[in-house]
Symmetry: C2
């Protein structure tokens, strides 16, 4: 893409009304726009990042046999009364409104009950199981406070998957496979090393549940990590019994601030019991469906990545989720002949006549380029490039030509090399 | 995809609570699920169709220079009060709710005001123009009645594009280019021949606006068409003056029922005047931005296609938007040897070892196959295949083998041919 065609502009200052680093940076760099606290629009650069995170997640959900669908945001009262979760005293994040005939409707903050209601039309026999479905849904949650940028929004994009299994064995197998798929997602988007599968309280359902917690200064939780064993325990379940169970010594634990990036609920039969979600088994008898629910906040994950992959100059995206792999910056020189040469080289880079995969390790052949061809001072262009944070900056200037070719800079490490043509 | 892995089931009967053909068919075939009147979930088959329509639209919006983004659904009062469109007496389709601090919020039924508010942060100079943006947004509209299935929903997916131009010339040029892009979209999804650019009332803004009206028995409008000249006029502006202007004779007009599938608003300077949307021109003076708005209902378009491309047996999707190009049906025979042969051939078809592009004209090499490998009677499998309506049915049965190979049936025309291997 040509930079001059991109309608968004970077701004010189941080937005005054944001306290979170992720929103400050993403607004400054033109990735997002704030509609109100906790509610953001995703502008072209931001949407590109979000879609890349979604696509990685989609691939991994498909790899465990998930089928993509999209539920509605509008929810009816009856669906949620069955489990008592329509009540604002029990679920305090509902946005509700009314139809013209005064019927109350809600906007989906979760979709477990809605999924089960829909699945009942399709799952009736043992032949229909397993069935695993997922969606990328814009959730609405009426949060009291929303000060964490896109890490905790009133409107946000979530990937939620639901598993329906025939028995405990099938259920547990899928649950474990999904844990592995989640690890792959976090790893592919660049936070694998700092994301821990964490033992947490299971709430009303089971003794323990699993959270994925990512180490992050702006986090909201504390977990205890045994780094050598890669075991993590949420503060709320840190008892001697749990330590024994996990074979972990208290003195080896490190307390660390984290953000919950994924959560999986092993409902077992509880949800199906509440909602009467049954199938007919081989013997013709009715049986409850084993049910699980698996979530990752897509926009939250983008926020965490922005928090972690950034410095005082701006963002520094991992290649897998960067809006563009390459940010090409062309110098504007006084000498017309040199200018022409710069233009020629940049055009060849932009059309991939000059192929960068041979110079940059790990670059896929379908790499995309943002070419800053504006007739603007180099300093300002470089500043924008640092702020936007594509992983590779390519400089074509009078100086780079004098040095023998084009300059390739790694945004994350700052390493620079000049490559001949 | 293997049919047995698809969790949705076709049902024998039409849903009792649907009067519209599109919803009846789409629910029966397992493409959508009804949450409540006018609110539908898109199940795997339905989501595939919707995404194909979106992708075609995306390509055409990109081709005229549109930049994709996504605004928020949640809207704040102030944004809409500027144009007086927060008032429920003026806009009667708002869904509204309240934050915890009692601040009223709305759910976007349109995004013109929100787009302008956001664009003001990025468009300040003549250098920033033109700027054209679009989104695929889930709109919420509190419709009094919702009886047209996915053709008129309380929650639906819309592609809305907005153009910001520097002067009338640039504005008109983009407006005309978008009309052509819209024609291409309607043509690519299979309704080009029956979709008319229609002169309609411009409301408060201009004398005329342009609608795209698609001939459809289940439509809500009447238009007058001169088929020879391909000119269409909405009932509301059918005056002698307009007839003269368009050089059309009243006796050549045919009255016909249609559904509005696209609408474009040539706001000129009106919206910018209302919202004080200005830029600084080359002379350093402030000037109003020329503004246009261009919408196509994505789910509505899917509904129209379902209405038009269907018969008493079910759906018959145009290839460009079909959930799968190929519905492969394998016979289950008593003779084990024949069964094995059928399986072998089907596997080769499924993995594309046997390539169908040489046999089926117009099939792209990236075609996708739904293989009904269930151990079920052929009659029921064929019935499902007719109902789901992929454009090409491939039958591999004992009979087809006896006839010399595989049977290829065109779902739309019913034409059948046997092809040797």
């Amino acid at each position: 893409m040509l930079y001059s065609k991109l309608f968004t502009k970077t701004s010189r200052d941080f937005p005054a009304d944001e306290t979170s680093k992720n929103a400050q940076l993403l607004i400054k760099a033109g990735f997002i726009h704030k509609t109100m606290a906790g509610v953001y629009a995703y502008l072209p650069l931001g949407l590109r990042v979000l879609e890349k995170i979604k696509q990685i997640t989609r691939e991994e959900m498909n790899s465990v046999g998930g089928q993509e669908l999209i539920m509605s945001s509008l929810q009816k009262r009856e669906t949620w009364e069955i489990t008592n979760r329509w009540d604002d005293k029990i679920v305090d994040v509902w946005f509700k409104s009314k139809l013209k005939n005064n019927t109350e409707v809600g906007f989906g903050w979760s979709h477990e009950e809605a999924i089960i209601e829909m699945m009942k039309n399709h799952i009736t026999s043992y032949k229909d199981l397993p069935a695993n479905v997922y969606q990328f849904q814009t959730k609405m949650r009426n949060e009291l406070r929303a000060k964490s940028g896109i890490m905790r929004g009133r409107e946000f994009v979530m990937k939620d998957m639901y598993s329906c299994s025939i028995n405990e064995e099938q259920h547990e197998k899928f649950y474990q496979e999904t844990i592995l798929a989640y690890h792959r997602i976090f790893s592919r988007v660049g936070v694998g090393e700092i994301t821990y599968l964490t033992f947490a309280s299971g709430g009303a359902f089971t003794e323990f549940s699993h959270e994925f917690q990512t180490i992050c200064d702006a986090g909201e939780d504390y977990i205890y990590i045994d780094k050598a064993q890669k075991v993590a325990i949420n503060e709320e379940v840190l008892t001697d019994k749990v330590l024994d169970m996990l074979n972990v010594k208290r003195e080896n634990l490190e307390k660390i601030k984290t953000l919950e990036t994924g959560n999986i609920f092993n409902f077992g039969l509880i949800k199906s019991e509440q909602t009467d979600f049954k199938f007919t088994n081989k013997e013709g008898k009715e049986q409850l469906v084993w049910f699980g629910s698996y979530g990752i906040g897509m926009t939250r994950l983008m926020g965490v990545i922005a928090e972690i992959y950034s410095d005082e100059k701006g963002l520094k995206w991992p290649q897998s989720v960067a809006p563009f792999e390459i940010h090409l910056v062309s110098g504007v020189e006084k000498d017309e002949e040199i200018n022409q040469k710069i233009q020629d080289i940049c055009k060849q880079l932009y059309t991939k006549e000059i192929d960068l995969t041979t110079e940059i390790e790990g670059l896929n052949t379908d790499y995309e380029i943002l070419w800053d061809e504006r007739n603007t001072g180099l300093g300002s262009k470089l500043g924008d490039s640092e702020l936007i944070g594509c992983p590779w900056q390519i400089l074509v200037t009078k100086r780079s030509l004098e040095n023998g070719g084009i300059e390739i800079k790694n945004r994350a490490t700052g390493e620079t090399k000049v490559v001949g043509l």
